[in-house]
Amino acid sequence: MSEVESKLHAIAGARFRLAIILTILMLVFYFGFIMLVAFDKPLLGTLLSPGLSLGILLGALVIVSAWVLCLIYVHWANNHYDKVVAAAVIEAQGRK
């Protein structure tokens, strides 16, 4: 495997690992929320302040967490990942 190939292999691996970690986080946040809805309704009904139950707060946080996870991924991929891949491709073409 050439140097360029191994660079590409490494960055593809890094992307895959980040994607899997973020996917697992999203699954945990969402199914954690759903399992609380299914198993502990009274807990989610707890009032944190007048009008704001824990359930409503957690539901809104699931939506916010989806934003944050997407933002992390797109920031990394569109800045770091794309540059590394592009540099590797140019390097490979330069050697031909």
Binding site: L8, I11, A12, R15, A19, I20, L22, T23, M26, L27, F29, Y30, F31, F33, I34, M35, V37, A38, F39, K41, P42, L44, G45, L47, S49, P50, G51, L52, S53, G55, I56, G59, A60, V62, I63, V64, A66, W67, L69, C70, L71, Y73, V74, A77, N78, D82, V85, A86, V89, I90, Q93
Partner: protein
Amino acid sequence: MSEYWLAIFFFFVFITLTLGITYWAARRTKTTAHFYAAGGGITGFQNGLALAGDYMSAASFLGIAGLVALNGFDGLIYSTGWLVGWPIILFLIAEPLRNLGKYTFADVVAYRLKQGPVRIAAVIGTLVVVLTYLIGQMVGAGTLIKLLFGLDYVVAILIVGVVMMTYVLFGGMIATTWVQIIKAGLLLSGAILMTILVLVQFGFNPTHLFAKAAELNGQQVLEPGTKIVTGAWDALSLGLALMFGTAGLPHILMRFYTVPDATQARKSVLWATIWIGLFYLITFVLGFGAMVLVGKQGILASGGGGNMAAPLLAKALGGPLLFGFICAVAFATILAVVAGLTLSGAAALSHDLWVSTIKGGHASEEEQLKVARIASVILGICAVLLGIVFQGQNIAYMVGLTFSIAASCNFPALMLAIFWKRLTTAGAVASIVFGAVGTVVLIYLGPTVQLDLLKNADAPNHWWFFPLKNPCLFTMTGAFIVGIVVSLLKPEPSSEDGFAEMERRATLGVISKAAPAE
């Protein structure tokens, strides 16, 4: 009557504008790349709005607002579920889809497999999802328009069918994209305006609104009820369907081919997630607004099973003018969604079935465009007929069915094709067929059809009764298992050999920018 006229006026403004865009788009639609993918010339931001426009159906606007207005908290279960599918699309699917495919998700599934069988299975998967989704949208359209505009059901269905076919037939993906962008903009600005008008009465603090709702309707509106989620297994199964169903909707997946590269594809999902999440948050506030300012009795009295909550709230907040505007936006919403669905169904029929399978990949541009347009007309007629046939049926289960099928039949095959080296043609086909057939059969044998629809009270005593409302837990995991087991039984060396090359291309999407096109 005057409020109907205002709504009809706003609607005609929308129709005129979008038909103008269709005329403009029609002159630019010269090749299949334009027709299916808008020539790949849409930016990430634009595509994000269009994805949001494709996804924010009348069911999610009027349905969730109504659900919240009548039940409170429980609407959040759907809102969150429908949103969390988007990050999954971003992390796992968007890039390989953009880098490997051309017009349909079947391009990716069939990439290293035998074209014919996989494409035919994918066409079945696409059509089942598109048609069930269309039934839900068309019946919803007819019923709503009757309520909103006072138009006859069949007339309403025909208007939706004809206008939608005009967009797709002449303007293809370019027109459809802009219709979706405009609709998303209108829907978001209308909903934001209403939210501001609601919150101004509660000191811009949503919790004051929630507290008022609890004071009027009891504390239970702030906590999980028992109507949507009956048991833990049902909750898990519904959650899976909502989350992974999004990643199996053909009209959503198709939108990734309208952007030039993976960088823009990622941006589109980020924007779509932001808009859709914001939309669900404010819909939740609007639902509570309707509960307090219109009242449950008023919402139920107007018919439509809660669907009128948002329009009635608009009337309470801004009189006939805002009511007319929101009604027109709801109509526009349905039009944009059915246009996107029809286009993706047409792409499956012409690109996957006709060109790639029957003609072995050899067909002239003219022929491909002609077939795509004929397919659009056929689907449009199907949509109108299905809308008329299902008139008056309770179609609430249709949305659940659509997401279950999409999650069970398209999503597993797509995941296996992208990530699993040893997937074989037979494995992919078996997975898709199992997902589609399994979901339809289990929903038929389950409580939604047997108890709610057929009123067969004896059903739970039979051995064949399936206890979950939503079968996704079994059908989606089943589709993965079937795909894996069938693949392991008889390996396909050509597919394994093609994996490294496919992975390389999925990674090196950027090369397409450096290298000359084609």
